[in-house]
């Protein structure tokens, strides 16, 4: 995003709408810090600018990734759907993507509202490579070599996005080991991540939840439940 200096009347109304604080001012101008801007489109969509000074310039590679990962109204080319991830457990009743005895993870880098560079994403994918099965349809997976976790294009590292979801699965038996690894990796990050753990239910029990609690990982009281109404069932 950019601000047309000739149109801008310096009312500053747009500044509070930016999720990452990229709209700044100096003595003469209000401008968008191009390093911080994640191209999410919130400022433009908000209507905060009454004179139409905010505009979306054409984005080339690799900056286009910012919009693809940050703006939920932009479909991601690797999935064809809007948003930053896949249908994960939301359609698990139909896909069987996560079977009994398996546990899924979604490490959402930069969430909530902090943002992340892909250099930070790569720190996590490198640590996980060789230990987990990356989700093949996920937008982050499309950017990395799953064997090493390295970004295929090093120029991507400096790009910033509101968040990027690393999705993968492993066996329940290895799930706790992965949680410990993520704990270790999180201590060397310059950002935050929000962590999802996906598990099949047995009647009204969540067996992996008990294993996590016993190991000292406490899930929050709220989350998402697929209620098994999708058809045909996997």
């Amino acid at each position: 995003m950019k601000i047309d200096e000739d149109k801008c009347v310096r009312c500053r109304q747009c500044m509070v709408y930016c999720p990452v604080g990229a709209i700044k001012e100096d003595e003469d101008t209000v401008y968008i810090d191009q390093d911080l801007c994640v191209e999410c489109g919130v400022c433009l969509r908000s209507g905060a600018c009454r004179v139409g000074a905010i505009y979306q310039p054409q984005l080339g590679w690799p900056r286009i990734l910012r919009a693809q990962f940050s703006d939920p109204l932009v479909p991601h080319p690797s999935t064809g759907i809007m948003g930053r991830g896949t249908s994960e457990m939301k359609t698990n009743d139909v896909t069987g993507r996560f079977r009994e005895g398996e546990v899924g993870f979604a490490v959402e880098m930069g969430r909530p509202g902090v943002s992340t560079s892909f250099a930070e994403v790569e720190k996590v994918t490198k640590a996980l490579a060789g230990r987990v099965e990356f989700e093949p349809l996920n937008p982050v997976t499309s950017l990395i070599d799953p064997e090493t976790g390295r970004l295929r294009d090093p120029d991507v590292r400096r790009e910033r996005v509101l968040s990027a979801i690393i999705e993968f699965k492993t066996s329940e038996d290895r799930g706790l080991e992965i949680l410990r690894l993520l704990k270790e990796v999180s201590e060397g990050l310059e950002t935050v991540f929000s962590l999802c753990v996906i598990s099949r239910c047995r009647d009204f029990e969540i067996p992996f939840r008990e294993r996590m609690v016993t190991a000292g990982f406490q899930p929050r009281i709220n989350g998402k439940t697929n209620v098994g109404l999708g058809r045909p069932l996997a």
Binding site: G21, P72, K90, N92, L189, G223
Partner: protein
């Protein structure tokens, strides 16, 4: 698309916050065609959800999103954000895709929606976000068993980068982080100064969440509570 996960708040506050999502697996032709045209089944999903007092409900239709959000009236429209009435959303004839959302504050409404969805066997995958104990109880009463859960292990890493808890409670109701912490602060300030009602402030925040999964009723309560708490602290410190 974990956007309804990681909502923060106290147990008391979160027990007044449910999101029901319908979705189909894009790669499953069998789910797309199960028991007739998909669009008709999503329309029926929206009709069912719309009949039980949602705080928010969304339809994807004609290349845009029709958004009903409690408290949002047309004079509050701005930018691309345009309010729809509940009737416009559930009466929409141009439904696209398998995605629909509705937000509730009341478990009883969730029970009734789930019971009706089970009876009608629309074949859509249905996900309910909320406090697990509440959602599981709703499943029991609707005659359903939970299939798969997505649990939040919270936020890890540089926690000092996060804003204060009330701001997080507001901002995490948009999982795509479209709601700026600065806007949340400004809305609390404006309510505190009497320039805005908590309900109007909640709508201004909710408008930014283009998926329309923001709970304006809960947000107004958070804003009121935060304004009162800040006033109390100010009095103590003066």
């Amino acid at each position: 698309m974990t956007h309804t996960n990681h909502r923060r708040g106290s147990r008391e506050s979160l027990t007044k916050d449910f999101v029901i999502l319908s979705m189909i697996e894009p790669t499953s032709e069998a789910q797309r065609t199960y028991r007739g045209p998909l669009e008709g089944r999503v329309k029926r999903f929206l009709e069912i959800c719309g009949g039980h007092g949602p705080v928010a409900i969304t339809a994807r239709a004609g290349g845009r999103r029709l958004r009903y959000l409690k408290g949002w009236t047309r004079e509050m429209d701005s930018g691309i954000h345009q309010a729809s009435t509940l009737e416009e959303v559930i009466g929409c004839e141009e439904i696209e895709g398998g995605v629909g959302h509705a937000v509730y504050t009341d478990r009883e409404a969730v029970v009734e929606v789930l019971r009706k969805l089970r009876e009608e066997d629309l074949g859509l995958s249905i996900v309910v976000s909320g406090v697990f104990e509440e959602v599981f109880e709703a499943c029991r009463r609707a005659g359903l068993k939970p299939h798969t859960v997505n649990m939040s292990l919270g936020t890890w890493g540089r926690m000092e980068l996060l804003p204060d808890e009330p701001i997080l409670e507001l901002c995490t109701m948009c999982g795509h982080a479209m709601i700026s912490r600065r806007l949340a602060e400004k809305m609390i300030e404006r309510v505190g100064s009497g320039a805005l009602t908590p309900e109007a402030a909640a709508v201004e925040l909710g408008k930014q969440c283009t998926c329309n999964i923001f709970n304006t009723v809960r947000a107004a309560e958070i804003i009121k509570r935060t304004v009162a708490e800040r006033k109390r602290l100010k009095m103590i410190n003066t």
